[in-house]
């Protein structure tokens, strides 16, 4: 290691080595010039003279020899320069040609970009990722965005042109949708942000003000139905527009603008519009309009609840009128029929126009429940309606029809709060039907019972079913009676006895009247027979409920068969031995209760065409001083004459009171039982909780009155089922 020569030599060598690696910078410059020229030629549509392989290799060599940056920056500058040129030519385009020029240049740029990318593929793969630069394709799009779309001369002109075209299309002009499609697609290709910021946002703003103005104009001059038609059309147009030339993501945004401006902002005014709003549509069954309203309102917040509220209050109001109008209360059958029609009407609206919307169905149900219970005679009327249908109304109807009607009735029944009142009436009406043999169809009767049973459980219908059992047993008993005692009875009157179980039937205890001796004999024979087969039972004759068919011969020998009640029969039989009898005499002989007797005589003597008795003095009403004569001159075209008793089908006011009282009386034990059940499990409970628990338990049958519950609690305390807590007087304790 002496002397400075050798080390210096070594240093030189190293430097020489370094130089050898470096490429001639002129080579890089030359190569770039070739590539730059190619890029220009590509933009000039003059690429046919270019050799792809040569250009690819040139770009490869530049990257390989570490001139990647020069290549990349050169590309960026060249492309920027080209785009500035292009922007000038787009700016120069006149009026309507502007968009076409823009679109044509965009197509050119895309094509050029693809070819440039082809040449620079190697750079894209190697230099770009390692130096963290933007890939060529993306670079081309970014430059287009910055130098074309965001150029001051183009930016606002582009937006204005697009918005103007859309406005013109809204006003009915035909525009070039294909071109629009290309331009919006270009904006999307440049990135969702470009589409949104440079087009979508202003588009939505302009649309909002357009529809705000238009909806104002429409609402001043259109009725509700027409307005909704227009709104629907606009909505469809906007959706169509999106599908034709906007990005799919815009659909939700533009429809929400239309919904807000055209529906939400005018919601209340539309619903309540005079002579054409929701209520009018409901009245006139405008299914199409209602359907449209539903479909449109469903799109906006609170839309459906607004519709529902208006419908509910309308239903409640009309329903209330329906059930409280004294005129309507005259005919129970028609009253119920109206309710059913009302229900059918709205059911149809909900299924046709409101797509069977559950919330609307619930609103309908709650409205019915509300107003049906406003009239405390609804249970009676519904039962009367069934009575009417099962007596005669169903004659000729098929089984399915019966089912449909009964199902509808059950629907009304479900709305009733006082189901026990219904039960009471139903029992009465059923008893009358059964005893007078007026039921049209046994199947229909049973079907109704099954429905009630499914609805309210076994307890509710057990007595009703008992009535049917009694009817059946009675039939068997009578057959047996006549089979065994035929010879004993001889030619006496035929007796048909219904043996009614006490408690199952709605019988009022009434003292039996004096039966004519012929009848009495048969009755006694039956009694002997019955008690002989059933020991330990007691038979009481319900003469107030029976009927009789008697044969009568009148003055000129004309024979009629009279269909009368047991009471009437007793009265008429008296005239076998006397021509004239005073009221007092009749009363004494028959011992029929006065009110019943009066009614019975009235129907025998005062009804035109049925007056088998003659009364003196002639008058409409029966007084205790009247005298009655057998009416020899009675004539009738019919052989069989049915003499009805003057009965009000509908309950009279005092009867109503009586029924009500009986219902209240029946409720007492039920309420008490509920209280005891609750207290047995809870032991200690305060007053309010008991009331609410009891209400909850009983509401399937009726809605107990809190005052009544309080009374029952007090009664239970007296009878030492419960006691008040010594400290807290509001608490009750169960005493076991």
């Amino acid at each position: 290691m002496s002397g400075g020569g050798p080390p210096r030599k070594r240093n030189f060598k190293i430097e020489a080595f370094k130089h050898r690696v470096e490429l001639d910078p002129k080579y890089a410059e030359r190569t770039w010039k070739v590539l730059e020229h190619a890029i220009h030629e590509i933009y000039n549509h003059n690429a046919s003279g270019l050799s792809f392989e040569e250009l690819y290799r040139s770009a490869y060599n530049m990257v390989l020899h570490k001139y990647g940056e020069k290549l990349y920056d050169g590309l960026k500058n060249t492309m920027t320069w080209r785009l500035k040129e292009i922007s000038k030519s787009i700016e120069a385009a006149q009026g309507g040609l502007f968009l076409e020029e823009l679109n044509a240049k965009w197509m050119d740029h895309n094509k050029a970009l693809q070819m440039i990318r082809d040449i620079l593929m190697y750079m894209d793969r190697t230099y770009v990722p390692t130096s963290h630069r933007t890939p060529v394709h993306e670079l081309g799009l970014n430059l287009w965005r910055d130098h074309i779309i965001h150029s001051p001369m183009i930016h606002s002109r582009l937006l204005d042109t697009l918005l103007d075209l859309i406005h013109r299309e809204r006003m009915g002009e035909v525009i070039n949708r294909g071109l629009m499609r290309s331009i919006t697609k270009m904006l999307m290709d440049l990135g969702p942000a470009v589409y949104q910021d440079d087009f979508e946002k202003p588009f939505l703003e302009v649309s909002a003000s357009f529809y705000s103005g238009e909806s104002q104009e429409f609402i001043e001059c259109c009725d509700c139905g027409n307005y909704l038609k227009k709104a629907e059309r606009r909505l469809n147009e906007e959706m169509e527009r999106v599908s034709h030339y906007l990005d799919a993501g815009s659909e939700a945004k533009i429809t929400s603008v239309v919904e807000k401006e055209m529906i939400a902002n005018h919601m209340h005014r539309l619903v309540h519009m005079e002579n054409s709003g929701l209520v009018n549509m409901l009245i006139d069954d405008k299914y199409e309009d209602l359907g449209r309203m539903y479909a449109l309102f469903r799109r906006v917040p609170d839309g459906l609840s607004t519709l529902r509220d208006v419908m509910t209050s309308y239903l409640r109001e009309t329903g209330k009128q329906l059930v409280t109008d004294p005129e309507r209360l005259k005919d129970p059958v028609e009253f119920v029929q109206r309710l059913l029609n009302e229900k059918d009407k709205h059911d149809k609206i909900i299924s046709v126009a409101f797509g069977n919307d559950k919330t609307f169905q619930n609103a309908l149900n709650s409205s019915f429940e509300y107003f049906i219970n406003l009239n405390n005679r609804s249970p009676e009327f519904i039962s009367l309606y069934v009575d009417d249908k099962l007596r005669k109304g169903l004659k000729g109807a098929t089984e399915e029809d019966v089912e449909v009607i009964l199902d509808k009735v059950m629907m009304l029944f479900r709305y009733l709060q006082e189901k026990d009142v219904f039960e009471k009436y139903y029992k009465q009406h059923l008893a009358k039907r059964l005893l007078s043999g007026k039921t049209v169809s046994d199947d229909a009767e049973r079907s109704m019972i099954v429905k009630l049973k499914t609805e309210c459980g076994y307890q509710f219908t057990s007595k009703l079913e008992g009535m049917f059992t009694d009817m059946k047993t009675s039939q068997d008993t009578m057959q047996d009676f006549y089979a065994k005692k035929a010879e004993e009875l001889g030619d006496g009157p035929t007796l048909d006895v219904h043996i009614l179980t006490t408690g199952s039937w709605p019988t009022q205890p009434s003292p039996p009247c004096n039966l004519p001796p012929e009848i009495l004999t048969v009755c006694e024979k039956f009694r002997a027979y019955y008690l002989g087969t059933h020991s330990g039972r007691r038979l009481t004759w319900q003469t107030n409920m029976g009927t009789a068919d008697i044969k009568a011969t009148f003055g000129k020998g004309q024979k009629h068969e009279l269909n009368v009640s047991t009471y009437q029969m007793c009265v008429l039989m008296l005239f076998n031995s006397a021509d004239g009898l005073t009221y007092k005499e009749i009363e004494q002989a028959t011992e029929i209760p006065a009110s019943d007797l009066k009614r019975c005589l009235q129907s025998l003597a005062c009804v035109k065409g049925k007056n088998v008795l003659r009364k003196e003095p002639m008058s409409k009403d029966i007084s205790e001083d009247d005298t009655f004569y057998f009416n020899d001159k009675f004539t009738s075209k019919l052989v069989k004459v049915k003499i009805g008793t003057v009965v009000a089908q509908k309950e009279s006011e005092p009867e109503k009171q009586e029924t009500r009282q009986r219902v209240e009386e029946d409720r007492k034990p039920q309420i008490e039982a509920a209280i005891v059940r609750i207290m047995k499990s809870r032991r200690v409970l305060d007053h309010n909780s008991i009331v609410s628990e009891v209400t909850k338990q009983l509401q399937a049958r009726f809605l107990p009155n809190p005052v009544v519950i309080k009374k029952r609690i007090e009664s239970l305390i007296e009878r030492e089922f419960l006691e008040r807590d010594k400290v807290d007087r509001k608490l009750y304790r169960y005493l076991a």
Partner: protein, 463 residues
């Protein structure tokens, strides 16, 4: 595809470096439009081209023959005397490098692995982790650096995070590497700003350049921290890291992996160990994160399942803390959640596998004693660095198989009952201190001299 430039019906003549090849346009098109050959034949470059003229390409014909064969057959046959790097260079020129890579090896199968390479390590110090890249490359962390290898196993520029000791690394994608490093003691700048070194950062795996750091703020105050294990949730682009702050700010940090913004922080609740974890594992099926902090890093092992939704909560946990401490006691030293997401597999210092049910809390470990399977009984000292250097076993689950490293061997278990189906013993670089599966490869980092073995599945047999 090119309408012109065809000899005969769909035939194309290429002159590559003086050798003429004839093939079909379809064969060349199979390379894809996004390659040099695809572009060359595209209509836009052939407007004025004579249909009978041949294409000239100024490249090596021998390599082109191999690549043309690859396009024709889908298989790669390297003739003797043609070095792989040369072929890869040419493939890169044509844009066919991905095709070459895909053709080199078959689909990963733990039972058909063969040793493809053994790469000697150079750096001093113990390797801490090896991580497989999605494209078949890998990185090895040791000391203050992460050495990065591409899939040809050529070394790239190493990655440094302030030269702080690296605890873990993870590939965000083939080009981005996340590094978790320890805060250097003594650097007392706890006021944040990243001055303390350590933490988490994203680097370019290609160039080693720092992309950005992932910072942690506690109560709006930026803090420096030591980052332990890393994990990614690809579906929501989140990064998780076990974090240990100076002021007892222990927990799991969450960041957006693209921006590096802190998204969340799960503070360590009492009775859990989150801030100094050995392993994090994201479970897609249940959207939960498994945090494993294991003996001997801590006195006891803790496994915790975190739910980061709405109300951050611990949904499952297990620990062996409180069990009598004796040297013979079986201690779980590594854990992995199996791919069905229902159970955790743990391994103890005797190489026994154990299983825990994730669907019920408060269950014990079901140990399946198979320690004798390894053949020889090993005396493993509880204290580290005793006699010859040993490594604690590690676990991984991949493709329905379970992998366990025990000493210098990796065992492969298959099927629902985890039957031992293969054992991999490599180059003899000593015990395996870490291994990783990804990019159709298994990388095993050995303790001695940081050599790492690369295992891959050969291409399927021809017939």
């Amino acid at each position: 595809m090119g309408m012109a430039a065809k000899t005969g019906r769909g035939r194309v003549r290429l002159n590559v470096g003086g050798r003429v090849f004839e093939t079909t346009a379809d064969t060349l098109a199979s390379a894809g439009r996004d390659t040099m050959l695809g572009a060359m034949l595209d209509a836009s470059w052939n407007a004025g081209h004579d249909p009978d003229a041949e294409y000239f390409i100024d490249r090596d014909p021998a390599c082109f023959a191999v690549l043309l064969d690859l396009l024709r057959t889908g298989t790669l046959h390297l003739p003797p005397g043609l070095p792989e790097p040369t072929l890869c260079r040419e493939a890169l020129y044509y844009g066919l490098l991905d095709r070459v890579r895909a053709a080199r090896a078959g689909e990963f199968d733990g039972d058909r692995l063969r040793l493809a390479a053994s790469v000697p390590g150079r750096a001093p110090g113990d390797g801490t982790a090896v991580r497989a890249a999605p494209d078949g490359g890998c990185c090895v962390a040791h000391g203050g650096a992460v050495r990065v290898y591409n899939w040809l196993l050529e070394e790239r520029r190493p990655v440094y995070l302030d030269h702080a000791p690296v605890n873990d690394a993870a590939y965000l994608d083939a080009a981005t590497l996340l590094v978790a490093a320890r805060e250097r003691p003594g650097n007392r700048r706890s006021d944040g700003g990243g001055g303390g070194g350590g933490g988490v950062a994203a680097f370019s795996a290609l160039t080693g350049d720092l992309r950005h750091r992932f910072r942690v703020a506690h109560w709006r105050q930026p803090r420096s921290f030591t980052a332990g294990a890393l994990e990614l949730d690809a579906s929501s682009n989140r990064v998780f890291a076990s974090c240990k702050g100076r002021l007892n700010e222990y927990g799991v940090g969450v960041w957006d992996c693209a921006t590096g913004e802190q998204a969340d922080f799960f503070y360590e609740p009492p009775g859990c160990a989150l801030g100094d974890a050995d392993k994090l594992q994201w479970l897609d099926a249940t959207s939960t994160l498994m945090v494993a902090t294991m003996f001997p890093r801590t006195d006891a092992s803790f496994l915790t399942l975190l739910d980061f939704r709405d109300d951050k909560s611990v949904v499952w946990s297990w620990t062996d803390a409180g069990t009598p401490a004796s040297l013979e006691e079986k201690r779980a030293v590594h854990a992995v959640v199996l791919e069905d997401g229902r159970s955790v597999c743990v391994v103890n210092q005797y190489d026994d596998l154990g299983f825990l049910d994730l669907r019920k809390n408060a269950g014990g470990v079901r140990w399946s004693s198979r320690s004798k399977l390894a053949g020889k009984k090993k005396k493993v000292a509880a204290a580290r660095g005793y006699e010859e250097e040993t490594c604690y076993p590690k676990l991984a689950a991949h493709g329905g198989q379970l992998f366990a490293s025990t000493n210098d061997t990796i065992s492969v278990f298959s099927g629902p009952d985890h039957v031992l189906t293969s054992t991999l013993r490599g180059s003899g670089g000593g015990a395996i201190c870490d291994f990783s599966i990804g990019g159709d490869r298994l990388f095993a980092l050995h303790n001695e001299e940081n050599v790492f073995d690369v295992w891959e599945t050969p291409p399927p047999a021809i017939i």
